[in-house]
């Protein structure tokens, strides 16, 4: 029962092609857009896959004593957004009211979804009491103050 090299090679080529077509399929469904498309800071593939293809697009950066979260939520008002923090897990959910006018023919509809929810783990524990969020021009900016134990600390170097 000899397996010919040619067969193995063809199998892998076929699998490779299938994988590439699946990748393209997902890209067509929701191409990388907005801040996600040009994210240079998330070099980690695992982290990037967390954010790909989800609404709302967001970036999370470390500002020393606090974490800065920015989410793109065009067309939403404060009433339509909910933010919940539990220790170091953040949940952002909401509902975008559909604004398709009645009786119009739809040529293209890319601005979806209507109900959304995203949950992810923050890099450190945050203090919800000291955190604040503002919504302006469709961008939600959340300043999450780091919990006291997670604050950066200076370590003094003594000459030895």
């Amino acid at each position: 029962m000899l397996t010919r090299f040619g067969d193995i090679d063809r199998t892998f080529t076929a699998m490779d092609q299938l994988r590439r077509r699946m990748d393209r399929l997902f890209d067509e469904y929701e191409p990388a857009r907005g801040r996600d498309a040009l994210r240079g800071n998330l070099a980690d593939e695992a982290e990037r896959s967390l954010f790909r293809g989800r609404f709302p697009r967001l970036t999370l950066s470390d500002a020393g004593s606090s974490l800065l979260l920015r989410a793109e939520v065009p067309g939403l008002s404060e009433k339509q957004l909910q933010l919940a923090i539990h220790q170091d897990v953040l949940t952002m959910s909401g509902e975008r009211s559909p604004d398709a006018p009645e009786g119009y023919v739809v040529h293209r509809q890319e601005r979806t979804p209507i109900k959304f929810g995203r949950t992810f783990t923050l890099p450190c524990k945050v203090d919800p009491e000291k955190s604040s969020a503002t919504l302006k021009n469709g961008v939600l900016t959340v300043t999450l103050a780091k919990a006291p134990e997670a604050q950066p600390r200076q370590i003094s170097v003594k000459a030895g």
Partner: protein
């Protein structure tokens, strides 16, 4: 050796490319009624003063500039071009920007509106 000399010459003739900001295509919805075309575009973070709308030769271009980026982010602008049917009057296009959503209304001239053609019994 000939190949080398040729490539060098080609590089000299190509003009310097200006450093351009990366552009991102915003998500849009396009609707049509018998009286108008309606375009809704997601432009989060763009304010009225940073928005440019051009209409020339049947092409409508929407450009939104952003200036608020974290240090590690790559700056970009929003940009999308639409081909609109001939006959749309640029003067009557109206735009509204609210909560990061741009609403463009393109009224159709009478020529583009669907017309009922009466069938007379003969």
């Amino acid at each position: 050796m000939n190949n080398e000399m040729q490539t060098n010459k080609r590089e000299e003739n190509v003009p310097e490319k200006l450093a351009q900001r990366a552009t991102v295509v915003p998500a849009v919805d396009v609707f049509e009624s018998k009286d108008e075309l309606l375009i809704l575009a997601d432009l989060p973070g763009v304010t009225k003063d940073k928005l440019e709308i051009h209409f020339a030769k049947g092409q409508l271009t929407v450009e939104g500039h952003l200036d608020d980026f974290a240090p590690e982010e790559v700056p970009f602008d929003y940009r999308r071009t639409f081909t609109v049917p001939q006959g749309i009057d640029a003067e009557r296009i109206s735009a509204q920007l609210q909560s990061g959503v741009l609403r463009l209304v393109l009224p159709k001239p009478a020529a583009l509106k669907p017309r009922m053609i009466e069938v007379k019994a003969g």
